[in-house]
């Protein structure tokens, strides 16, 4: 079973960068997949990687991370202005961040049009199906 936890932007908006990163990492270390509204700042993304590396041990193997964010270069000027105002007033709520424990999430494949989350179990079962096919 895979558990997802939604983290709305208002849950983290008042937190310092360190607290934001720790809050998300604690959920992931509890074997849940974070679906966060919005995205972390660029510096917070590297902080997340640094803290993850610091916490890796025999049980915690790290994270899989993916950020879906609208391509601003393709937006109309008026949409860009609206987005900039909304960000100024409400924080950067555009996009979505997915963070999963590496022991559960094998990989998150991202391309401009879709996102695929491959779990470790699905990889194992596809290997099992492959072996069974060969036996037949």
């Amino acid at each position: 079973m895979v558990t997802f936890q939604f983290v709305p932007f208002h849950d983290i908006e008042g937190l310092t960068s360190a607290k934001r990163v720790n809050k998300l990492l604690n959920i992931v270390k509890d074997d849940r997949i974070v679906i966060m509204e919005g995205r972390l700042k660029k510096s917070e993304e590297t902080d997340l990687i640094e803290i993850t590396m610091d916490e890796i041990d025999a049980k915690f193997k790290g994270i899989e991370l993916s950020v879906i964010y609208p391509d601003r270069s393709k937006q109309a000027p008026i949409t860009k202005i609206k987005g900039a105002f909304a960000t100024l007033l409400l924080g950067d709520r555009q996009g979505m961040t997915i963070i999963g424990p590496a022991s559960i999430v094998k990989k998150i494949e991202q391309n401009p049009n879709r996102i695929e989350l491959v779990t470790q179990d699905s990889v194992k079962s596809s290997r099992y199906r492959g072996k069974n096919k060969k036996k037949r």
Partner: protein
Amino acid sequence: MVSRFLRKIFKKLKLNPFSKRNDFKLGLYGPPNGGKSTLANKICEDWLGEEMSAVSHIAHETREIKIKEQVTIKNKRGKELTFSLVDTPGIATKIDYEDFIRRGLKKNDAKRRAKEATKGVIESIKWLDNMDAVVVVLDATLDPYSQVNITIIGNLQARDIPVIIAANKVDLKKSSLETIKAAFPQYEVVGISAKYGKNVEDFYEKLFKLAK
């Protein structure tokens, strides 16, 4: 934060009191096994006649920052560019010692390699602020839309550090230079094979543009 702000201002004014021309640091960044150390070796072999780093097919062979000072390259017009070449450990979001066991390492060696690799990633990130320009080395046979690639490049952009992307391993059939170009259209992308020296002359020319 203040020093980053001052760096930005001085860079914009082209007045950087913290950086002498011969103290120009060129970093090689990217995910593990992209070919950073192979490229570092190629540069050092071409211009210094010696290798710089050990390379391996097992990921995280480079686990600490390696610096080769006073590397001087020359272009066709005789212009010279001198820099310190900084080979960095590959940046990853996960490291599992069992992967190293699967690649043939003994359990204790695998655990030690994993521990050192995690420290290497932290060191790489900390060194971002010291770089004057960066070559992001990507494996052209792999999907470039990984969050590690996007995070590295996004952070370099936020720090105002000039970047070029070296799409490595273009000698392999599976490679796709066009996919890398499509993923990062705002950056200069040069396809190379660091192992076989393919297109490195073009890469050196791009370094001159990067250092301007």
